[in-house]
Each structure stands twice: as C-alpha cells, then as structure tokens.
C-alpha cells in the first residue's frame, strides 16, 4: 500500500472547494444555487453532503467538473485538485484549479472520469441503451489510457467482477435493459472505477433503488473505498444512508453549507438549528407517533370497513387475434386484507411488489380480475364493489378517497386550487356555488393553507403544499376511508412528519380510516397501527406494526427490515444483514 503511506505521511486533502459560487441567470434575475461553499475531501474518506431538495447539493457536485446544465454557471471560487497527494500524482507539488479550466477543454476532459468520476441517481438514463455494458465500460478505459481493445475488455471483466456483477463473462455482452436497477448501478460504478479515480462523486446513487439493493450498493462502495483509498463525495437526503456510510458530513441549506463535521459529532451534537431539526424529524419517524397512540386510547378500532377478499389482478392477459391466450402479469395474487374502522393500515413493499395495484384495486380504479372487495358503508351495509360499473361506483368513491404520490401530476395544472378542491362537490351537485366556495375555504384552513390559495394555480406551490391540496380534495366529500399511495415519498423529511401529523389530526376529527402505501418503513411505523408486507404480488405477513417491525416472522420481512439504514452511526456494522432468496 504505497498510496496509503504517501497520504498518511502528509496532508490527505485531495480535493478542496474554496468559496464556490454557482449561479443560474434567468429572466427573473440571478439565482444563486451554490453560495460560497468551502469543503475538503480526504483520501480514503467519505464526505456526505446532506440537504433537502433544492438545497444546491447536486449543482455543487456538478460545478466541480463544470457540467452544470445551462443557464447555470460557476461564477466564483476554486476547486483545487491536489494531484501530488494522490496515488497517480508525481512527487512534486501539482495542484490544479478545476474551475480555471475551460469546460470544453481537453485538460478537463482528461480529468473527468480519470481523476474524478461521477455516478448519478438514475442508472437507466445514465447508461446508453444501445451499447453493450462491456463497450461502455471499455470506452471509459480507452478514453484515458492507450490500451488495446482486447486489453480493455479484460480490464472490464475484472471491473465487473469487482462490482460483484454475477457471471461477468455473460454480463459484458448484455445491454442495460437486460439488467435490473441494482445491476445497472453496479455497472455505472464499474464505469466510474474504470480508471481508478482519486475522487468519486456519487449523486444520490441509491435513491432510485429499493432498500435491500441500496444496502448492497452501499456495501460495495465502502469495500471498494477500503481497497483503493479513494475519496468519496456522497450526496444524499437520507440521514439513514449518511449514518451508514459517512466519515464526515456537510449539511447544505439554501445553497450554503451550514455545518460540517465528523459524523459522530454531527449526529450527537448538532450545532446548527437546521441540522437539529433535520435529525429530530428523522428520529421522530421510525417511532410510533405519540399523537396516534394517544388517539387510540380514547377511540377503539372498530369493525372491518374495507376488505380485500382474495383480490387477484392480472395485467395484459387476453385472447390473441387468432386464438391462443396471452399470459398476463400477475401484479396482485390472492391478497387478503382488511381495514378496520378508525385504523391506519400500512402496506409496505419494494417497487413492483404490487402494493400500488392493490390500493387501486381496493378503490376499484382498476378492474379486479378475481376476488371480492367488500365495503361497509355508513349505514352498515356490506357490499361487494368488485363488479360495479363506473356509474355505480360514484357513491363508494365519495367514501373512499385517494391522496396521490406525485404532488405534481395529481393536480390539474389548468385549474385553480379552489376548482380542484371543489370538483368532487361540484360533480356531486348537492351544494350551491356559494356553499361550495365556503366549504373549500373551510378545507383550505383545515389543511393549513392560506385563503389566498383559492385563486392560485398549482405551479405556485411547493411539493408539501400541493400534497395539502391533494389532502383537502380527498376529504372534501366527507369520506370514511383514505388510501394514501406513497403520499409522503416525494417530500423532504422535515415536511413528511408535518403531512403525516395533518392526516392524524384529520383522522381524529372526522373519524377516518387510512391505508398508507409506502416503501418507507419509518413512515409506516410512525403512522400505522397494522402493517401488511407485500412481496411479488403476495401479502407475506400482516400484523401489528411494532410486532412485525421488532419480531418479523417471514424471511422476506426480516431481510427488508435488516436492510433499512438506521440513522445512528454508532450501530453501523452491528446489524446482521439477512438476504432473502425466494424458494423456487
């Protein structure tokens, strides 16, 4: 380990940002996305940059290699790469200011990918869909080093092996679409490692992945770092991931770094009020909400109100033109589930597990292939709504409402907030125009939005505010059941608890029952009384939330829970990871 010896002897800072400023010049003025940021990256260490959406952490990382999308421009500061302190560097002092280089020059292209490599959030769009994995990784090598094709291929094989892609001999000739999300991200990492970079910038590399795969990718990055003494800048919004991987932390807010420090220091003694709040909201989640427990004391959970009796949903099946049947995809496979009155039921599972489909079947947005959906209405009559037509569903749809995942696409951009919230009332046709207006104002107040929102359009609101609009629309016709499909996933952590608390307050007031669909165990633990775990279309385990979270019975639940990162750096590495292999 000569590299180790070299860096340990002296200063180990390999990349240094000094007063970095990046601005976006728009019609409406100059927007300073990165405001006077100074950071240091040390060889062999991981610096986690944390911050909520829009805090400028991504732009900051892109500024280093000058790949900010126009109209963004680096307008000040320095980004010093101390090459002499790296394994590749020579003995004499060689410091390069990356920001002095022309963004299109050969000099900076030489550094990109060789000294500093990047991996991005979305592995599907960062890989070229028309080239084989091997060619893409090989190109990264051949761009920077004069090696033959054959040699590059051998090195590629080795890299694929290093990132633990199974059967690299076969994978090298496959296309990205043949890979799963986790495999694609591994291939991206292989590409980034192609030239043994000194610095790896990872921009939310695990955000698009399921927790079990996220845990594996984090393991991989850590093990590679141990081997190669690489400095990693890891950008994330997830404090759990931070606790898992960071050596140092930089907290960003509104384009500025508000706090930097050692991982233990920040987690245990956060100085800046924003960091404190951020950590508090993270810690608050992951525990049962006090508000909910208090509510349950006074109000008991009632009889089943919405029951899924063996629901099966198959997509894309049907007859072909010339006879023969197309076998569809079974998204939900005989799911049995019941929601009781006044209860919060959580449905958890990874992407593609069928949890959203189940929710939509329960609401009968989708036709149900098989099974019954039993809904007990206010008068206590139980009714199977699986076979109803759209016209007959009008009444159950007033009782069972939805809060959608994406606060951007779920509100019609062409209607004002008042129109959006009032729509179910207008369609129902029972109230006069003035009554509807009054009701909408009442609803706006209930969800904590100003009355001035009435005349505005959705684009004037932030994600959290939009989700409040979505909630107001859901409760407008006085429903009894609300299905919230990943209602908080698109929101920042600090806003997440706010929205969940709002839902709990509404539950207290209007005696609602909730089904919360989420991939995030922490959110479910905070909000839900009972939990159902889905895996590949099947409900593998149901039970009381705390019981399931503490003593999971099914092997899949165990693996899921063991993969969830805990927001405490002290427990790092202590948890035993369980991997779940489905019996075939």
């Amino acid at each position: 380990m000569t590299a180790m010896a070299k860096t340990a002897a002296t200063n180990s800072t390999v990349l240094e940002l000094r007063n970095l400023i990046t601005e976006f010049v728009t019609q409406r003025g100059t927007f300073r996305a990165v405001d006077d940021v100074s950071l240091e990256l040390h060889a062999g260490k991981t610096l986690c940059v944390v911050g909520e959406s829009g805090s400028g952490k991504s732009v900051m990382s892109r500024s280093i290699l000058q790949i900010v999308d126009p109209p963004g421009r680096v307008t000040g500061g320095q980004a010093l790469l101390h090459r002499h302190r790296t394994a590749r560097g020579s003995d004499f002092d060689e410091t390069i200011d990356l920001l002095q280089l022309d963004p299109k020059s050969k000099a900076i292209r030489n550094l990109r990918g060789r000294d500093i490599a990047m991996i991005f959030q979305e592995p599907m769009s960062s890989l070229s869909p028309v080239h084989r994995i091997g060619d893409q990784v090989g190109e990264a090598i051949r761009l920077h080093e004069a090696v033959s094709k054959k040699e590059a291929r051998e090195r590629t094989l080795e890299l694929l092996r290093k990132v633990e892609i199974p059967n690299p001999g076969k994978a090298i000739d496959q296309f990205p679409f043949e890979f799963s999300g986790g495999m694609r991200q591994r291939a991206m990492i292989a590409m980034a490692l192609a030239c043994n970079p000194t610095v790896l910038i990872a921009d939310e590399p695990t955000t698009a992945l399921d927790v079990t795969i996220q845990a594996e990718i984090l393991d991989l990055i850590r093990s590679i770092q141990d081997e190669s003494d690489m400095a990693v800048m890891f950008i994330t919004h997830d404090m759990g991931v931070v606790a898992e991987i960071a050596d140092e932390i930089a907290v960003m807010r509104f384009g500025k770094v508000v706090e930097t420090g050692d991982v233990y220091e920040i987690f245990e003694k956060p100085q800046h009020p924003y960091t404190q709040r951020l950590l508090n909201s993270v810690r608050e989640l992951d525990h049962p909400s006090a508000r909910r427990l208090e509510m349950r004391e006074t109000r008991a959970i009632g009889e089943p109100i919405l029951v899924s009796d063996g629901i099966t949903k198959v997509f894309g099946s049907g007859k072909r033109w010339f006879g023969g049947e197309v076998k569809g995809f079974k998204a939900v496979n005989t799911a049995n589930l019941e929601l009781r009155k006044g209860e919060n039921l959580g449905v958890v599972g990874e992407s593609g597990s069928g949890k959203t489909t189940l929710g939509r079947c329960l609401q009968r947005v989708y036709e149900v292939t098989d099974g019954r959906v039993l809904y007990t209405n206010e008068a206590g009559q139980e009714r199977d709504i699986a076979g109803l037509t759209e016209d007959q569903l009008a009444e159950p749809w007033r009782d069972i409402r939805t809060v959608f995942q994406d606060p951007f696409s779920s509100l019609n951009p062409r209607m004002t907030i008042g129109q959006i919230i009032g729509e179910p009332l207008v369609v129902e046709g029972k109230l006069t125009g003035q009554q509807i207006r009054d009701r909408v104002h009442e609803l706006l107040e209930l969800v904590g939005l100003p009355a001035s929102a009435y005349m505005r359009y959705p684009h004037a609101f932030s994600g959290g505010q939009r989700q409040r609009v979505s909630i107001a629309r859901a409760i407008a016709p006085n429903p009894r059941v609300i299905i919230a499909d990943e209602a908080t996933s698109a929101l920042d952590v600090s806003i997440r608890t706010q929205v969940l608390d709002l839902l709990l307050d509404l539950q207290k007031r209007f005696d609602l029952s909730f089904i919360l669909i989420s991939h995030d165990i922490a959110v479910i633990r905070y909000f839900c009384d009972r939990i159902a775990v889905m895996y590949r279309g099947q409900i593998v385990e149901t039970g009381d939330t705390e019981t399931v979270c503490q003593k999971p019975q099914h092997a899949y639940t165990q693996s899921l829970l063991s993969a969830v990162p805990v927001a405490d750096p002290r427990v790092r590495g202590q948890k035993q990871r369980v991997r779940y292999q489905e019996a075939t």
Binding site: R28, G29, V365, L411, N412, V427, H459, G464, Q498, D505
Partner: protein
C-alpha cells in the same frame, strides 16, 4: 388544531411573480412573447389576414382590368419627394411614367422612363368601384392614381396588362382562407378520429391507426391530381374551390389525428385524470373539463403548422392547373402565369406571388413553432 405549516422561506428565492395567479393562457402568452421569431411571424400572419380581409380596399385596381398598352409593364418604384422644375420640392407620392417602345427588328417591347411625365398617387383616392365583401358598395382605395384614367404598377403587369399588385392582394384572400377552411375540416376529422382512437384504445385504436397509416402512405400529389382531375369541369369556380379544400383536408387530417391521439394517451395515465374520475366526473366531464384544456394549446400549435401545408398544397395544385382556375385568383393561379421560360426572361416580377407564398409559409411556421414551445409553459419553468 396545530398546523405547523410555517416553513422558512428560501432567502435566495426570486421575487414572487404575478405568474402565481396566472392562468394557463397567460403563462402561454408570457412564454410566447419571449419567442422573438414567433412574435415576428405572428405579426406577419396578422397582417396577411388583414390584407385578405380588406383586399378590395387595399388593391389599387380591379384585378381583372386589362390594359393592352401595359403588357408586361415592369414594376415602378413609388417616390415620395416630388422635385419641381424650379428646384423646390414637396411630399407627394408619385411614380415615373414609362413608355413602351417597340424594337423595329425584333419586335421586342422595352419600357423607357419618360422623365417629363409623373403619375401622381393619392391615398384614399377614388378608383374602380367595388363591393367590399360583396356587399358594401365603395370606390375608395387605399392608394390609387390621382387621375382615375392612369395606372401604376408596383409589382408590374402580366401578359394582359393586369396589375400584379392587385392580383397578389386578391390572391391573399383565397390562398390564406383555403388554409383556414381546409384545416378546420381536417381538424374536425382529426379531433374526432384521434380522440376516439386515443380515448377508447384497443381495437378501435388499432383500426383507426391503420387507416391513418394507409392515408399517409398514399402518395399525395398523384392523389390530389387524380381527385381534382375527377372534378366535373362544369362546376362553378366557387364550387371547385370548396371541392379542392375538401380534397386537401382529406389528406391532411392524419397528422392532427395522431397529435390528438398522442395527447389523449399521455393524459389518460396522468394522476389528475384518475383523480377527476374518482371525484365522480362523468366521462364527458373528464374529457372536456379536465383533459381538453391541456390539449387545446397543443392542438392550436399543430393547426398553425398545418395551415402552411395547405397553402403549399393549394399552390402546387393550382400551379399544375388542377386546382383553382381563373377567374378565381390565388397565388397558385398567379404562379401558373410564370410557368414558361419566356416569362422568366421577360417578366421576372411574375414570381412575386411566389414570394408571398414564401412569406406566408415561413411566418406561419415560425408562429406554429413558437406556439408549440409555449404550449407547455410548465415544461420551461423548471429553473425558477
């Protein structure tokens, strides 16, 4: 009830704009106004339609009035400063008179400037009587000769001594309106078939899309030729005009049908459309209240881009002699005059209607491009 919705505002945030209250249309307008090329296009298109609307008033002469003495009269430049013989000057629009001289040997006519004679022009002067829009009898013209017996030729004259400026102005009306009428027809077809195709999907979609492909794969020019050749020769020019627009739109609806279908497919899966269904909206309300507003802007953009195609199609058909025929005046009919080599050599100004086609098509394309870019104002506002 505790509503801790108070969040700190981003100190970097730019000043809140009135766009918060802006509706879809005002956002489109804001985005469109930034598009300079499209704004220029919009102004030119507007001017062309003004010309089309008031062509009788704007044209100096009756477009069918011939003058045997002015065959292939070249264009004249309008001068505003009138120099008197005594050295003084005044502002008075006029043109220099040209006299025809015939070469004794070659019999070629050449026009020579007659320095002594000036033809004075007058704004809002009296000229050939006409009926505005076929109804209001008038005889004032925007610009005509002070002496009604004299003539001037800004764009020259054709082989019968007819004023090309007047003819081009009259041609604007037919050429620009055939685009509108044709597009209206194909829009109706495209909206219905595309909408049905996109909304219902499945087998209906299959069949309609195959029909669209069939129509697209037909070679258009021979089809136009064949269809217009099949029109009875004894039809009146006006009937022919309508028949031609129908023929043009029968081929042009496919593009619009695809745009509409695509928008429907894209919107059908949007969460807010599902939300509208769950709000209890009827199918009709979902389409017209929730989906249509998001499509209108895109449809307007594609309509704007379809008009120039129509104009070009009419021009080419008429140029080939199978579209409109005299006495109807359209740019294509006028260009038919410029079909032979003789006219190129002797009277290049017969191509001026081609310039009008060029201008109209270019302006409409710029306008359509700008509209298409502005149609989705939310797509551009990502960097706020």
């Amino acid at each position: 009830m505790p509503m801790n919705s108070k969040t700190e505002t981003d100190p970097r945030a730019l000043v809140q704009s009135p766009q918060d209250f802006a509706s879809q249309w005002s956002l489109i307008w804001i985005a469109f106004r930034r598009h300079r090329l499209a704004m220029t296009g919009a102004i030119i298109v507007l001017m062309l339609y003004v010309v089309a609307a008031f062509s009788e008033f704007l044209a100096p002469f009756n477009p069918n009035a011939t003058s045997a003495a002015d065959v292939y009269h070249p264009p004249q430049m309008i001068r505003f400063i009138d120099r008197h013989d005594d050295g003084g000057w005044s502002v008075r629009p006029h043109v220099r008179s040209l006299t025809a001289e015939r070469d004794k040997f070659t019999l070629k006519t050449t026009y020579i400037v007659n320095p002594d004679e000036k033809i004075y022009l007058q704004f809002f002067g009296k000229g050939d009587p006409y009926r505005l829009w076929g109804v209001i009898p008038m005889d004032r013209h925007f610009l005509t000769t002070a002496d009604p017996s004299e003539r001037f030729y800004m764009f020259g004259a054709d082989r019968l001594g007819r004023d090309m400026l007047s003819r081009t102005i009259y041609g604007t009306r037919i050429s620009m309106s055939i685009g509108l009428v044709g597009v209206t027809l194909s829009l109706a077809l495209g909206l219905i078939l595309g909408g049905v195709s996109g909304f219902y999907g499945g087998r209906v979609d299959m069949i309609i899309q195959r029909i669209v492909e069939l129509v697209i794969s037909l070679p258009t020019i021979p089809i136009w030729l064949g269809m217009s050749a099949a029109l009875p020769q004894d039809w009146s020019p006006l009937t022919r005009y309508f028949a031609i627009t129908v023929i043009l739109s029968l081929v042009a609806w496919t593009e619009l049908a695809r745009v509409v279908r695509g928008r429907f497919l894209a919107l059908r899966t949007e969460d807010f459309v599902t939300a509208a269904r769950l709000d209890g909206c009827s199918r009709k309300r979902v389409i017209f209240r929730h989906m249509m507003p998001s499509m209108v802007s895109h449809i307007i953009a594609s309509v704007t881009l379809a008009i120039p195609v129509m104009i070009i199609a009419e021009t080419s058909l008429s140029f080939l002699g199978l579209g409109l025929t005299p006495p109807i005046i359209s740019w294509g009919v006028l260009l038919k005059e410029a079909q032979n080599v003789r006219s190129i050599a002797q009277a290049p100004w017969l191509f001026i209607p081609g310039g009008a086609v060029f201008l109209a098509v270019l302006a409409l394309n710029f306008l359509g491009d700008g509209l298409r870019d502005a149609a989705d104002p939310y797509a551009q506002d990502t960097h706020q």
